[in-house]
Symmetry: C2
Subunit: 95 residues, 2 copies
């Protein structure tokens, strides 16, 4: 279930998460995908180090923009579409 009633702090966390070229690339990449993909695969597609990937995925997750699903030693990641949908339709209410 998607979170309702965001605070301004939540909003800022979301905007900060979106306000970086690597993270926006990740978002765009995940958007045109319709399955889960591992952090490693995505990191390779973005051509970033695994440390950098780890950092950026954490920020995206903490903003609620992706969901993460660990299987054994791999972490699979996909867009949290309900967050985007909710946020885009309740933008002014949530600021």
């Amino acid at each position: 279930m998607t979170k309702q009633n965001y605070t301004s702090e939540d909003s800022i966390k979301i905007f900060k998460a979106l306000a970086d070229p690597i993270r926006l690339e990740i978002i765009k990449y995940l958007n045109q995908l319709n399955h889960e993909e591992s952090c490693g695969e995505i990191g390779q597609a973005m051509d970033i180090s695994k440390t950098s990937g780890s950092y950026h995925f954490k920020i995206l997750q903490e903003a609620g923009l992706i969901t993460v699903h660990k299987i054994a030693r791999e972490k699979y990641v996909k867009l949290d579409r309900p967050t985007f949908d909710y946020y885009l339709t309740h933008f002014w209410q949530n600021l």
Copy 2:
């Protein structure tokens, strides 16, 4: 006329502009206003220095989130609602 076809760089500029507590306060303040107000008045309402105001208004304007209208020595500012409307309805296309 509102800009169509944003690049990823434009998007990042917009997200960065929104990703700051003072600027988000300004946006919220302007949103519940329906007339133009001067930078000075807004700055006072936000309790920030005029230098800081000048800096933040510039970032908001360069992101296309506000429009500015100079009368004599004062600058009047209001939300650029078409930008918000367009962006919120074309979010995925514009990333």
